[in-house]
Symmetry: C2
DNA sequence: TTTTTTACTTGCAATTTGCAAGTATTTTAT
DNA sequence: ATAAAATACTTGCAAATTGCAAGTAAAAAA
């Protein structure tokens, strides 16, 4: 059997580079972690601080400060949940949405370029495989969840 | 078409968690970046500092210090290349090999567990897909290489 | 031989990190 | 109804990680 880890290591490293490249797109000085925060806020529905921090596997105190800087940059808003005044609901500002979308476009453009080296059949196979992989990882209770959770 | 980026983001995040979990296995206090350094030194043949730093996309100065700490921990050795006294050849100590291997085993065990949720056909498809993906990413000149290279 | 390039190291100064300890609100006893 | 416990988040550190600028030493080019 081939070395699974090696394949994954190479793939995720490459994807990591791509991610790093893309987040500094558009003149804005966004760090990789910040781009992930923007991405998740955009994706989740009215998320709280805890939720995003949990999703990203970031310590809540670190996350708190990252959000503060994103608010200063006017990319993220924070609203206290009316039902529970302890929790802060996060959302993107118009500018934040713009940045998040432009990063997303870049990423997808690059990924499409990568996929252009395959034929239609290969593309479909790969897409299905990644879905399968994600499902399997989700099923696995032992692994692949946040380090401290 | 599905959102490629989302699929990749989820997958690599999960793999990242796995990576983080695994590197702190075995009582040793190894950071994620350090585990990646050990991995690459193990993988490459008599690599120089530059080579590993380049592979990992790390600034050479940062890398220099990381290696120093790994040497202090007695996991890595540095030997000056006899053919060019400027370059340092990196290698793992016996202890380093042990750590690297135990991380590798953990990782592969977890990945096998993930793959156990698939049938034989799916497994093969997924493995082939990841290989394909890696080849395609390698072909793509635009993307997926080190940020500053 | 001098100049330039290359491989690496150190000096900062800035950023990022997480634990401990805080505040404020809500939930759970009693 | 009130005290105690839990939850959501924030701040104070102090340590670790980062990268640029400037260094050393060796090799290659001029």
């Amino acid at each position: 059997m081939e070395n699974l880890r090696e394949m994954f290591q190479v793939m995720t490293r490459r994807f990591g580079f791509l991610n790093k490249n893309c987040c500094s797109t558009g003149g804005y000085d966004i760090s990789l972690v910040q781009s992930h925060i923007l991405y998740e806020i955009d994706k989740q529905h009215k998320p709280s601080m805890q939720q995003i921090a949990e999703t990203l596997g970031t310590d809540i105190t670190t996350f708190s400060r990252q959000v503060q800087s994103l608010i200063k940059m006017n990319l993220v808003k924070k609203n206290t949940d009316p039902d529970d005044k302890r929790v802060s609901i996060l959302s993107l500002t118009t500018e934040g949405v713009y940045i998040a979308e432009s990063i997303d476009q870049q990423m997808n453009a690059y990924l499409n370029e990568v996929f252009s080296h395959m034929n239609e059949f290969e593309r479909e196979t790969v897409v299905r495989s990644i879905k399968l992989l994600n499902e399997s990882m989700a099923k696995s209770s032992k692994c692949c969840t946040t380090p401290l959770g």
